[in-house]
Structure formats: C-alpha cells, structure tokens
C-alpha cells in the first residue's frame, strides 16, 4: 500500500519544529515503516473487538480522599521559568477553542 504523508502537517500536530530536509527524511522513513505496518490489513478482523487493555480490568477506582500535594518551591525549582508562584511561558498565539 503506497503511503502518502503530509509530513509538515503531522509535524505541526506533534509540535516538532523541523526544517525541510528533516521533514523529507522523516517522510521517507515513515512511508517505509508504514508500508510494513500496513501488513496489519492482511489479517481478517471482522467481528474482532479492538484490545486497548491487555488485562481486562474494570473500574479501578480510588476513594475521594485528599492526599498531600507537592511543595511548590520544589516543583517550581524544576521549571524553566517561574515568577510569583506561577510557571511562565511566552504568550499564546492561539486560544483554546
């Protein structure tokens, strides 16, 4: 199965800033891997449910009980930038729609 990939779009979705030559390398590699991966289509799977969880557990709840939170200074000590108890990032170009 020939695989046509809009690699620039995929890189944008994945938030990876790649230049044109990198994009071309990944496009070629992905096509090759996907061609191999497309072998899954040779297996007849009508009426076969997908498996997302191998062990088949259900629910696995926790009770609504408050546990201690982390120390803020310890958390913010790992942040690339912080100020007044907040994490800081450059302004967003787009809003969350």
């Amino acid at each position: 199965m020939p695989v046509d990939i809009d690699i620039a779009h995929v890189a944008r979705l994945a938030r990876l800033a790649l230049d044109d030559s990198e994009l071309e390398i990944y496009r070629r590699q992905l096509s090759q891997i996907l061609e191999h991966a497309a072998k899954v289509q040779s297996v007849a799977t009508d009426d076969t449910a997908p498996t997302a969880h191998p062990l088949g557990l259900t629910n696995s709840f926790r009770s609504d009980v408050v546990q201690p939170s982390l120390d803020r200074d310890e958390v913010l000590s790992q942040a690339p930038e912080s100020q007044d108890g907040y994490f800081v990032v450059p302004p967003a170009l787009e809003v969350d729609g």
Partner: protein, 488 residues
C-alpha cells in the same frame, strides 16, 4: 572472584552469615564500575555516596538483627526511566537533562523498603525507544562480551551492568522486548512479568498498554527475588493487577516432568542465526530428556505482530511524550510564542528515533488514517491474544529464541530503522498480549557471544514460567563470563 560477581542469593547468604558486609559488597561493585565505565558506559548517574550510605545503614540494621529480607544490602541498578526522588532522571533524553523528580517510582519505594542499595541510573535508548542503547542522548552502552557490539536495548545499561558486575541485579522496562533482548545479548536473565503485575507508577511511559517493569539478574533465582520484591498491587496504577501474587520459590525446583512445552513454529527460519537456532534446539532436546512433552504450536498472527506493534506503541508514545514541552520541567528552547517555544524545545530535545516514532504515532492516530492503522492494529492485537490462548490449550509454556541474532555491531542498524525493529520480532508479541516471558542464557556462538532462550507463559502464569526457566538454566549450565568481568 570479586564480590561484584556474586549472585544475589549467594551475596545474601554471606551477608546473613556475617562473612561480608554490604559496604564490602557495594565497594566491590563501585570499584568494578570505576574500572569498566569508561569503556562500557552502563550508567548515566552513579550515586556513590548514596549507595555507600545505604550500605552502611544496611550493615547497621543487620548488626542489630533488624535486616529487612533477602535484598537488604544488595547493590542494584535502575534503568534511568524510573523516577528517583532527588536523583536526576533523564530517560536518556536531552529534553530531561538535569531533571530531578520530586517523587520515587513505586518500584523504587519497594526496593528502598527492602533495604536494597541503589547504585545508580543505567543507560537506555532515549525514552526506551530502541533495541541497541545507541539511541541514548548521552552516548551508547557497549556489550561487556565484545565492546564493538551493542548490549541490546532499550535496557542495555541495566543488562550490561549486571553482566559486567557493576550491579548484582537491576530493573529494566520492557515494551517490546527491552528487558529480554538485552538480557539475551548480555548473557543474563531478564523477565517481563504479566502486564499489571508491577506498578508503572513513576516509570516514564513509552507505550502505556505495553510497558512493564521487570528484573535483570545473573540467575533465575535472583530474578525471582527481585520480582517478588517489586510486584504487587499498587492503587496508584489503575492497571495494576489486584488479585493474588503467588510465592514463586517452590516452582524453581519442581522440574518439567509431564509439562507440555510448545515450540512456536513462526519464530525461526529466515533472519535467524544458525547458532541461535542450534542453541534453542539443543535446549529443547534436553527439556524432552528431562521429562517435558514437546509440542509444535502455530501462532500465524505473530508474523504481523511487528506491524501492529509499530502502530500501537508509537501512537501511545506520541501522546505520552506530548508532556515534554518546556513548560513545567526539563529544558526549554526560547520562542516568541508558546507554540514556537514548544515546537523548538521538542525538536531540539528529542533525538531522531523519538521524533520518528512521535511522527509515526501522530500520523497513525490522525483523522482519516485511524481505522486503517491504529484501529486495525488493536483488532490484530485481539487476534493475537486469541491465538496465544488457543496455543496454551495444548502447551503449558511456549519457547523460542529471545532474539534472532546475537549482539550486533555498533552502528550496524542505526540507519535502517526497520532492521532494528526486527530485533524484537520474538519478544514483542507478548507485550501485545500482556503475557509474561523470561529470557535465560543457554549458550554462546562460535565467537563466544551469548544466546538467550525465551520462555513465555499465559497471563498470570509466572509460576510455570519460572519452573521451566529454572530447568532451562540447570540444563544449559551456562557459566561463561564476559572477559571484562573477570577482574579479580
């Protein structure tokens, strides 16, 4: 022989008998590391002071008759994708360079509670993505048996450290063979338990529905000890198995008389080295001689398991690795907007294999391709589970080579992702099914490179798996040592 070359069981016996101290043992291991690290690079971080402190504390406990159990005072290593409070954890990625977790992974807590001495954090393929440990942002680990060759991966550092004597045992993580394949290539024992047996809390996720933590050790019994220490239900992992956890020790001495051992037809032939197939055949014959019934089984879907795996694992990984964005921790590459900062941070912070898999997974999940790729792969997964289940109607365990080849040379497969992926062809099916499997060294090829045999069992069937693994170990009587390790 250096204390660093003892098995955990033997070291434990000597500690208990008062013949040695944990400080002796830890110093021997650290000394071995000092001697070998420049060449092997098993570790990303060695916590010398922390290890000696734990060892002294262990000796103090023991002197007061308060030893914590068979792992008290035993130096072990952790793959660097398990969070350790206060000790840098990088998953061998540039994006996490310098990150110090504010919490311990569940398995780290369990090891600390058992009194184990944590020597350090071992090297891996970045985010556990790879089969050679060449994808580490901090340079590759080399195979102690031949330093021109890879140790396998992704838990290459953990496997090489145990083989070289810079730890008595270690923990790795296995998503498609990442414990078993390096164990085979380094001549040690490696276990992937049933999915859900060992809590993933604090394991930096690669593919959540496939990842499982397990031990690497110099003997089946050592691996059992480590496994029994780290497994058990953990309420912080919703996929943690809440049922019974049997004691495994008795199973090791049971023998294989009357057991049905299935040989999987699909794991052999083209691409498999002759020495590997010969070693496996010899073991099968010995098992028959020991009273096992050998049966042939077929798992046709195993042949497309690799394809399914390379859709499911990258898809999950693409989401799991989205959190590395330069906002809350790790490294940041500046940008004028959030979007630009994130995209630059990720492009600079991830290595090529990680980027490749993120792109692959993102593509496989994206609108218009989901059904053909990811959705289909999940159905194939169901088929595979059904076929394994059917195979276990006629066999109690299944065996196969762990890896089609012995350790390959550094650089041999880095430019050909697909050939690298083929290293996992025997190991990854049970990650898809969730079943347990173990790799046991059974011999060497003409060049003296180790060969591993894989024993697979149905989900939660660790008892029968260890029973057969122990027999394989006895029959193979593998006692070769890597040249580097023989320093005493």
């Amino acid at each position: 022989m250096s204390l660093a070359d003892l098995t955990i069981v033997e070291a434990g016996r000597r500690l208990e008998a008062g013949e040695i101290t944990s400080v002796d043992l830890t110093e021997a291991v650290l000394e071995r590391a000092t001697m070998t690290e420049a060449q092997l690079h098993c570790y990303l971080t060695i916590d010398r002071d922390g290890a000696l402190e734990s060892a002294a504390a262990s000796d103090e406990r023991r002197s007061q008759g308060r030893a914590l159990g068979p792992l008290d005072g035993i130096p072990v290593a952790l793959k660097d994708n398990m969070c350790t409070r206060g000790v840098e954890t990088t998953a061998a990625s540039q994006i996490l360079a310098g990150w110090v977790p504010p919490y311990d992974a569940h398995v780290v807590e369990r090891l600390r509670e058992a009194g184990a001495v944590l020597v350090g954090k071992t090297n891996l393929d970045e985010f556990a993505m790879g089969s050679s440990t060449e994808n580490s942002a901090y340079g590759p680990t080399r195979n102690p048996w031949d330093t021109d060759r890879v140790p396998g991966g992704s838990s290459g550092g953990s496997a090489a450290a145990v083989a070289a004597g810079s730890a008595l045992g270690s923990l790795g993580s296995d998503t498609g063979g990442s414990i078993r394949q390096p164990a085979a290539l380094c001549g040690v024992v490696g276990v992937k338990p049933t999915y859900g047996r060992v809590s993933r809390y604090g394991l930096i996720a690669f593919a959540s529905s496939l990842d499982q933590i397990g031990p690497l050790a110099r003997s089946v019994d050592d691996a059992r000890l480590l496994l029994e220490t780290i497994w058990g239900h953990d309420p912080r992992d919703a996929t943690s198995y809440p049922g019974e956890y049997p004691s495994l020790a008795a199973a090791l001495d049971r023998g294989v008389g009357g057991m049905r051992i299935g040989v999987v037809e699909e794991f052999g032939g083209e691409g498999y080295e002759k020495a590997v197939e010969a070693a496996v055949s010899a073991t099968i014959e010995r098992l028959a001689g020991a009273g096992a019934e050998i049966v042939e089984v077929s798992i046709p879907t195993a042949q497309v398991a690799l394809s399914a795996y390379y859709l499911i694992a990258p898809a999950e990984a693409s989401a799991n690795l989205a959190r590395f964005d330069g906002v809350r921790y790790g490294n940041r590459v500046p940008g004028d907007t959030t979007e630009e900062m994130m995209a630059r941070t990720r492009a600079a912070g991830f290595g090529p294999e990680v980027k490749r898999r993120i792109l692959l997974g993102t593509y496989a999940l994206s609108a218009g391709y989901y059904d053909a790729f990811y959705g289909k792969a999940q159905q194939v997964r169901t088929r595979l589970i059904q076929e394994f289940r059917a195979a276990y109607e006629t066999a109690d365990v299944l065996i196969s080579p762990t890896s089609p080849t012995v350790a390959f040379e550094l650089g041999a497969r880095v430019d050909d992702p697909l050939s690298m992926y083929l290293s996992d062809v025997c190991t990854l099916p049970v990650n898809l099914t969730g079943d347990p499997a173990i790799s046991v060294p059974v011999g060497t090829d003409d060049a003296g490179l180790p060969i591993g045999l894989q024993v697979m069992a149905p989900a939660l069937g660790e008892e029968q798996m260890f029973c057969v693994a122990a027999e394989v170990e006895r029959l193979a009587a593998f006692d070769a040592r890597p040249p580097l390790g023989d320093a005493s």
